[in-house]
């Protein structure tokens, strides 16, 4: 049976596509090297729309006459004050553009002017080489390094040096335990329970926060801060799984890409990528729950604990709460063997 995998890989070859949701421009070419925060594609976002009724403004009887007297065509840019249409005669009446913009439509004697909107920019998200470009649509980037996947992210991307908070990984990070060494760093810490901590980290100008867990009522604050946050385990007071901690430890002081953009609807996870000067091989994105696999318990009890799968139990197992489920025996880091529903396990590899 297919089981979700959460990657904790010391070295892999990563291939990620970066696609624009609408037609736009790809700003890099095949072969170019990109950093995670580089803007690699952009598209114009819709601006505001002004509907200028030429027929009514200039008192034309017929729609065709209004069209004939227009000075611009669809697709042309205009500046504020430009004459868009004009009557004939010795003292002509004119209709001027009320704002800078682009004519995007002419419809039944009306001009539709689109005022400039913002730009939608797509960041590379990983450091690597552009291997494919789909003109106007997006690109594929490939790179080698360590990959760690989280379970929740606040939608932002940054790069910085990985710094591991010197408190025990299960401890709470507070305003008081933030320190000046964390400035410009991507900080790995345990748990955050107060909005003040997230705001203080913003003021300290950290590049990013990797947390084992966070209290769920901080979601709103976490989305507002200016730096990326990734939760490795989720919501609640959940300690970081040992396998992830070990991997972070071996990469401390290295540059790490913290990409907290993800899409739960498509089962896509937020990712941490540490570029390494070595050749990795692509990892399998799915697995099966079999004896000997390293797994993680995803929800309480035992949430966040990595374990060794000892045996998948035959048939259904009766839990203490009366539920009958497919389950496995797993050995926790403390050597304790516990029974956990298969649905509450993901494979770490």
């Amino acid at each position: 049976m297919i089981t979700p995998v959460t990657h904790l890989l010391p070295l892999t070859h990563l291939r990620r596509d970066r696609m624009l949701p609408v037609k736009g421009r790809v700003l890099v070419s095949v072969g170019s090297h990109v950093n995670a925060t580089d803007i690699v594609a952009e598209a114009d976002q819709d601006g505001g729309h002004l509907i200028l009724d030429v027929r009514r403004a200039l008192n034309f009887r017929r729609m065709e006459e209004a069209h004939k007297r227009m000075r611009y065509k669809v697709g042309e840019k205009v500046e504020k004050g430009d004459i868009l249409a004009q009557t004939g005669g010795i003292i002509p009446r004119v209709l001027r553009a009320p704002a800078d913009g682009k004519i995007i439509g002419i419809y039944r004697g009306q001009i539709i002017l689109e005022t400039p909107g913002g730009k939608l920019e797509i960041q590379a998200g990983i450091t690597g080489k552009v291997t494919e470009v789909l003109p106007d649509r997006g690109l594929v980037i490939e790179g080698d390094g360590a990959l760690l996947q989280g379970v929740w992210g606040n939608g932002k991307i940054a790069v910085g040096m990985l710094l591991i908070n010197d408190q025990p990984p299960e401890d709470e990070l507070t305003r008081a335990t933030l320190n000046v060494n964390m400035r410009s760093a991507v900080v790995l810490a345990g748990h955050v329970a107060s909005p003040e901590t997230l705001i203080a980290a913003d003021e300290l100008l950290v590049r990013g926060l990797i947390l084992a867990s966070m209290t769920a009522d901080l979601i709103e604050t976490a989305v507002k801060v200016n730096y990326p946050i990734i939760l490795m385990e989720g919501f609640g007071r959940i300690p970081l799984n040992q396998a992830a901690y070990n991997l972070f430890s071996t990469n401390e002081k290295r540059d790490i890409v913290i990409n907290a953009v993800w899409d739960a609807d498509r089962n896509e996870k937020p990712e941490l990528f540490i570029p390494l000067p070595a050749q990795g091989s692509p990892a399998q994105d799915y697995s099966e729950l079999t004896r000997g696999k390293t797994v993680r318990v995803t929800v309480p009890p035992y949430a966040g604990q990595s374990a060794l799968l000892v045996a998948v139990r035959p048939g259904l197992t009766l839990l203490a709460n009366g539920q009958r489920v497919s389950a496995a025996d797993v050995q926790l880091g403390t050597n304790q063997v516990v029974t956990v529903p298969l649905a509450n396990l993901d494979v770490l590899e």
Partner: protein, 573 residues
């Protein structure tokens, strides 16, 4: 889509859910259609597969192992079935997978056609991103902006009764036409028109240059009459066409299914509508499917269906449930003390791991508390949307993992607390989630759903009688005399504020007589004064719910928890 054959016997139903892909097998046994087996694996429409096919393949392999039948040859589904028994004769497919569709509605009067259009689109898994009617006083260009920014996948236009307004409908069409002209070609939404039929030609002429316009019968042919059913059929087809672009592999499967793939909610509604045609015409049949991302509520009376899909559920749907509820509305149902932050954290964690299962007594209690609030939210929203008091049902058919994976008593208690029906109600559990499959199968084989419903694939949880009384808590309000078929009798005293499980065994028939000691109403919705009922015991026996409506829980935490435990014990939970 393949043409169904007259001699088709076995039928396979595939459901692509937001979490699981399920395969359900039906076939003839001794001349009757029966449900023979099911399999369930994780869906694969998202990363890393981005294609439903892998999930279907895994589900079929599992079903092969479980039923000792062969469906696959060289990893391909054998259809139609062969003489050696391999393969299946017909295939139907339903789906809930994929993000909610972005839908915009346009109509004339706020309370008339626009409201009907809203009801229409909430019968599918969508997010209403914009609604524009005649009373929308925003400037024309602001409306254009709003529609463009909403980026709808689908625009539904209603408005104008038959022989009614045409000019106003024309204005709406002009607005839509302008918006479509400004929309990039590769992002044009689907268009569906369900307004004044006199405008049909005009609408088609004005909008068909932007793509095919789906025309459905008017949802509001007269001011007082709403007709949603034909438009719902059309909407289901339109949604499938859009989903073909979102769900990798769906289009390929559509070519081998015996009927076009259909949204699960639509098939679920179709089945509930059918059941309402063969049941008590005085009462609504209610169907509730409590899923991970969506809750579907279908209420039907004499074939008239009210269908709503809410983004509420016990997975991703918890986000919306938490947004729409005070946490206290969930924690009030907990029979033990669990700190608020732990409850909130657990429910948010569940949004990240929607397939997870509550593994402790506490986490099960949290999920069941959330389920009660979701049921309550859904039924309250439905009442407001359809201006239908919706309190009295017969029967209630329920499905969804949270309701099916727990003990029958716990399921029944969740339903009573969440739905709070009045009168006499029979609760039927669909433990295998067959209802949407049967709704889809009905299009291919009319006999199959009828015979499977009559089989033992559904579980009768029990009949619940909920009398209303103004008496104070603990006051005796009536005696219930049970007259068994054997001639034996038993009498039970019923006190206000309590739940009672009458000793009627599953399948056992008995007549119960209510002898009021205080003024009570048994079925206030229908002014029925029947005091005597014939009942068939369900797995929870027959239940008297004398807790009153709306159900009032003690304000004191400790008393409330004691009360919840007492009610649970009364049902043997």
């Amino acid at each position: 889509m393949s043409t169904p054959t007259a001699e088709a016997e076995s039928l396979l139903s595939i459901e692509i859910g937001t979490i699981h892909t399920r395969a359900l097998l039906f076939d003839l046994v001794d001349g009757q259609y029966r449900f023979l087996g099911a399999s369930r694996v994780l869906s694969t429409y998202g990363a890393p597969f981005y294609d439903i096919s892998e999930g279907i393949f895994q589900a079929l392999k599992q079903l092969q192992d479980g039923t000792a039948r062969n469906f696959l040859e060289d990893s391909r589904l054998v259809i139609p079935g062969r003489a050696d028994g391999a393969g299946i004769d017909s295939l139907v497919l339903t789906y809930t997978a994929g993000p909610g569709l972005r839908i915009a509605v346009l109509g004339l009067l706020e309370d008339v056609s626009l409201e009907s259009a809203r009801r229409l689109v909430t019968s599918t898994q969508g997010v209403l991103v914009e609604a524009i009617g005649l009373n929308d006083h925003r400037k024309h260009e602001v409306q254009v902006d709003a529609l463009l920014k909403a980026k709808p996948d689908l625009i539904v236009i209603a408005g104008g009764t038959e022989k009614g307004a045409t000019r106003s409908v024309g204005k709406i069409i002009e607005l839509v036409s302008m918006v479509l002209q400004l929309t990039p070609r590769d992002h044009l939404p689907e268009i569906m028109y369900a307004g004044n039929q006199a405008m049909q030609k005009h609408v088609t002429e004005a909008l068909s240059r932007f793509g095919e316009v789906q025309v459905a019968p008017n949802v509001r042919p007269t001011i007082d009459n709403e007709v949603l059913a034909p438009a719902q059929e059309m909407l289901a087809k339109t949604v499938t066409r859009i989903r073909n672009q979102h769900l990798g592999g769906l289009q390929a499967y559509a070519s081998i299914t015996s009927a076009a793939p259909t949204p699960s909610s639509h098939a679920f509604g179709r089945m509930v509508r059918y059941l309402s045609q063969i049941n008590n015409p005085q009462k609504y049949v209610l169907g509730v499917d409590l899923g991970a991302s969506y809750t579907t509520l279908a209420a039907a009376q004499e074939g008239k269906l009210e269908l709503s899909v809410y983004p509420l559920g016990l997975g991703a749907g918890l986000k919306y449930a938490l947004e729409k509820s005070d946490l206290a509305e969930i924690t009030r149902w907990l029979p033990m003390h669990i700190p608020d932050d732990q409850v909130r954290d657990y429910l948010w964690q569940k949004t990240l791991f929607p397939a997870s299962i509550p593994a402790s007594v506490e986490t099960l209690a949290i999920e069941q508390a959330a389920a009660r609030q979701i049921l309550n939210l859904a039924v309250r929203t439905h009442r407001a949307r359809y201006q239908n008091p919706l309190q009295s049902f017969e029967p209630v058919i329920v499905s969804g993992s949270a309701l099916a994976q727990t003990s029958p008593a716990q399921t029944l208690l969740m339903l009573l607390d969440g739905l709070q029906p009045v009168g006499t109600t029979t609760f039927v559990l669909d433990p295998y989630g067959l209802t949407p499959a049967l709704g889809a199968a009905a299009e291919v084989n009319a006999m199959l759903p009828v015979q499977v419903v009559e089989s033992n694939a559904f579980v009768n949880l029990g009949t619940v009688i909920s009398p209303l009384s103004n008496a104070r808590y603990g006051t005796s309000i009536m005696n219930v005399r049970i007259e068994y078929e054997s001639g034996e009798e038993a009498i039970h005293e019923i006190r206000q504020g309590n739940l009672y499980q009458l000793p009627i065994q599953p399948g056992q028939t008995a007549r119960i007589h209510m002898e009021p000691l205080r003024p009570i109403e048994i079925d206030p919705m229908h002014n029925a004064d029947t005091r005597s009922f014939k009942v068939i015991g369900g797995v929870c026996g027959t239940v008297i719910d004398a807790r009153g409506r709306p159900l009032a829980l003690p304000a004191d935490d400790s008393r409330r928890r004691d009360m919840l435990k007492k009610w649970a014990m009364a049902l043997g939970s």
